[in-house]
Symmetry: C2
Subunit: 153 residues, 2 copies
DNA sequence: CGTTAAATGACAATATGTTGTCAAACTCAC
DNA sequence: GTGAGTTTGACAACATATTGTCATTTAACG
C-alpha cells in the first residue's frame, strides 16, 4: 500500500521529471556549443572555472559541485591538450594553480560567443519575466532539497 | 569580441545553470530514495518503465530518452539480480519483453512509497501553483531547444 | 517471393563522474 | 615545535551513459 501523492506532490513529481529531461537537453546543447572548439561540456566548465580565477583542481571541484577527482581527470586532459597549464602555487607545493593558455582562452571565447547567441535566442522565445520566475522556483527547490532530510529508509 | 548577452539571454543562462544544478540534486535524491531497496536511479527508471507496460529494451530506451545500449546494460543487471525476467516476445525472436518479478515489484513499490512522501513534502513547501508555472516554462524550454538549431559552428 | 531498409541485441571503446584509499602537504591548537 | 586532523593529488575500481560496429531479425515494397 503506497501512500498516495497529494496534488502538490504530484505536481512536484512532474516538475522533477521535466527538470531532469531539460537537463539532459541542456547537456546535449552544451556539448554542441563546445564541439566546434574541440571541447565538451565538462571541459568547458573547467575552462570557465580556471578563467574566472586561478584555482586548484580541488577549488574547481567545490565551485562546480563535483568531486576533485573528477575535475582532476578533465584538467589533466586539458593540460595534455595545451589548454591549461599547472602553475606553481606559492601557498601549496603540490596543489598547483590551473591557468588558461592562449589556446585555452581562444577555445573558451569561441564557446562563449556561441553560447551567447544560443542563450539570447532562447531567452527571446521564452521571455525574460517567465524565465526569472521559473528560476526562482528552481532555486527554491534546490534550497528545499538541500535542507530536507529524506524519509527514513 | 564576444557578442553580449541580452537581458533575456542572461536570464536564460542563469536559468540553465540552476536547472543543471537542480538536476544533480534530484539525481542524488533519487539514488537516496532507491537505496533502501538496493537500487539506484537508473535501475528504478528501468523498473518503472517495465512496470508501466511490458516492453523491449529498445522500447524502454526510447521511453526514457536513453540509448538502447545503456538500458540494455542496466536491464541485464536487473535480470541478474532477479528483479526482471526476459519473457518471450511473440512479435520478435530476439527482442524479449522485460517483465518485473515479484522481487522487482516489491523493490519498485518500496521506492515509490518513499518517493511519494518525499514529493509530497517538497510539493507542500514550494506550492502547487508555483510548481505548475515553473513546469510550464521548463516544458516550453524543452520544446524550444528541441526545435532550435544551434548557431553554426 | 525476394530484395532492400530498418530495428534489435551483442560487443567494444570512450566520456563522464563517483567512491575509496594512500601518502604528502598543510593547518591549527597546545 | 609537535602532534592531530584536514586537504590535496594520485591511483584504482566502479556506475552511468554515449557512440560505433556487427550480425540477426523484422518490416516494407515491388
Amino acid at each position: 500500500m503506497n501512500p498516495d501523492r497529494t496534488p502538490a506532490g504530484d505536481a512536484f513529481a512532474t516538475f522533477a521529471i521535466s527538470v531532469l529531461r531539460l537537463a539532459g537537453h541542456l547537456q546535449t546543447a552544451g556539448d554542441a556549443l563546445a564541439k566546434p572548439a574541440g571541447q565538451t561540456s565538462a571541459r568547458w566548465q573547467v575552462l570557465a572555472a580556471a578563467d574566472h580565477a586561478p584555482m586548484t583542481v580541488a577549488d574547481a571541484g567545490r565551485a562546480l559541485g563535483m568531486s576533485r577527482q573528477g575535475v582532476q581527470r578533465v584538467a589533466d586532459l586539458l593540460e595534455k591538450d595545451g589548454l591549461i597549464t599547472y602553475a606553481d602555487n606559492p601557498a601549496h607545493q603540490r596543489a598547483k594553480l590551473m591557468a588558461l593558455t592562449e589556446s585555452g582562452k581562444a577555445a573558451l571565447e569561441t564557446i562563449q560567443a556561441r553560447q551567447a547567441v544560443w542563450a539570447n535566442a532562447l531567452g527571446e522565445i521564452l521571455g525574460k519575466k517567465e524565465i526569472a520566475s521559473a528560476t526562482q522556483i528552481v532555486t527554491a527547490a534546490l534550497q528545499a532539497i538541500e535542507k530536507q532530510s529524506l524519509p527514513e529508509g
